[in-house]
Assembly symmetry: C2
Homo-oligomer: 240 residues x 2
DNA sequence: ACAACCAACTTGTTATAACAAGTGAGCTTA
DNA sequence: TAAGCTCACTTGTTATAACAAGTTGGTTGT
């Protein structure tokens, strides 16, 4: 009838977080404190905390403690007219910064090649960016299918917004195909994205086409599922 | 340098799943077998399995064992022209069934009321459906903002697809606002959806408008994040 | 004053142990 | 034959214990 102890403790802490006893960034009681407060073993206290961490409500740092994760989500609007992540955040007035990690000619990854309809390992440009906004971090992987990109405006793409730069250079993005899915952080991502292993991630994968229906780039925006959500609208004058 | 034992074991099992040693529905080695195979304690073996379960790669049943979750995801296309879940699955040739749980007049829930722009607790119709497709289950909560729904075609909505029934009765759905986010199963949902506590869920929330821009209904489609994904396209003749 | 060290805290990993509880096969009994 | 029981196996929960490893602040020594 009664739930396991670790669930009860989790729920108690969750309610305290939701009711404001602990707010964004606060330190939760240490495992030792939970042991004494609830008269349980460390395993049980640990499992209670693990429940919160696995759901993204808190994050643990070895040597420091367990801290409440900000609960507010950043909404990325996918509605027409198409805007890239940077633009949409600017429109919403959310502080946004990104850091270029990689920008170089490379052989097309197999998934991007398939999406772009080109042979695997075709020559493309690959860009990797980290972005930060409102305390949350994410990653963007881009695969550009533009032959002479390097000579023309590659340097611009390293430091400026992708879509406007493309448009200014005669390649306006007209439409795209996209998939939104949820995956989990694996060992490849930990550190790179500061996401605990096993944490849920939102992945937004898209293929962008120019106005003549030719594929231009393939992208993946990877973000923490507890900090990001996506919105779309088919209404005429919508701007939510 | 070397990762913790339980991570190594998780990875080994994950690779075995991905390489086909264990496929959809197969039983993984029991905790006792893992203890002997890898010469570790039960805690470590358990933690290795817990990693897989928390990522949705496997699901554990007490008394039976741990079984591989189907990895294939069902894609729900949100592209224009608007189609409801049932229709899109039928179009893709995926076996689909739903079960009506609740259909009754009720006071509008606060979130639906806010989305529909009506006072809280206004009279509405509330419907709850469970659906099954391709081995996955999900739930649909609908809040209808139609005053004389009961007298006209309410019974039809219990057993047939929502959008066509609305259209046939003079209420064609023209456009919608939607948000896609990822949450986690809490105690309310376990059992109801056969989702383990803490499991990631995809939530698709939308407000549907008729052709005269009046809100008609508010809905939420809740599904397992490891079994569902959403796609959209702004291309003209797209049908992916 | 400053650097180095250390002690006390934190979470992370792992072992051993026991009991609870759900499942299923096989045996026993009516 | 059929119902019911038992036993072996499964995962779930919890306790105690020890060490590893990262952080922080205070103390000590130069």
């Amino acid at each position: 009838m009664s739930p396991p102890l670790h669930i009860s403790i989790s729920e108690k802490l969750r309610h305290q977080i939701e009711s404001g006893v602990y707010t964004s960034g606060d330190r939760l009681p240490s495992e030792h404190q939970l042991m004494e407060t609830f008269s349980v073993s460390r395993i049980t206290a640990r499992q209670a905390v693990a429940n919160l961490v696995s759901q993204g409500l808190a994050i643990a740092y070895r040597g420091k403690g367990v801290f409440v994760t900000p609960q507010k989500k950043v909404t990325y609007s996918l509605s027409s007219p198409l805007v890239f992540l940077e633009q949409d955040m600017a429109r919403q007035g959310i502080a946004f910064s990104f850091e270029n990690l990689v920008f170089e000619p490379a052989a097309a990854p197999s998934d991007a090649a398939a999406a772009l309809g080109i042979p695997k390992a075709s020559p493309v440009y690959v860009q990797k960016k980290l972005f930060r906004m409102d305390g949350a971090a994410g990653a963007v992987d881009l695969t550009y299918l533009i032959a002479d990109l390097g000579d023309r405006f590659a340097p611009l793409l390293e430091h400026q917004m992708t879509f406007p730069i493309l448009a200014q250079n005669g390649i306006p993005i007209d439409c795209l195909d996209a998939v939104i899915e949820c995956t989990h952080a694996d060992y490849d991502l930990s550190g790179y994205l500061e996401v605990p292993l096993g944490h849920a991630l939102m992945v937004y994968r898209y293929t962008a086409y120019s106005s003549d229906q030719q594929p231009v780039l393939h992208g993946a925006t990877i973000s923490r599922a507890d900090r990001f959500c996506y919105s779309l609208s088919t209404r005429a004058g919508a701007s939510a």
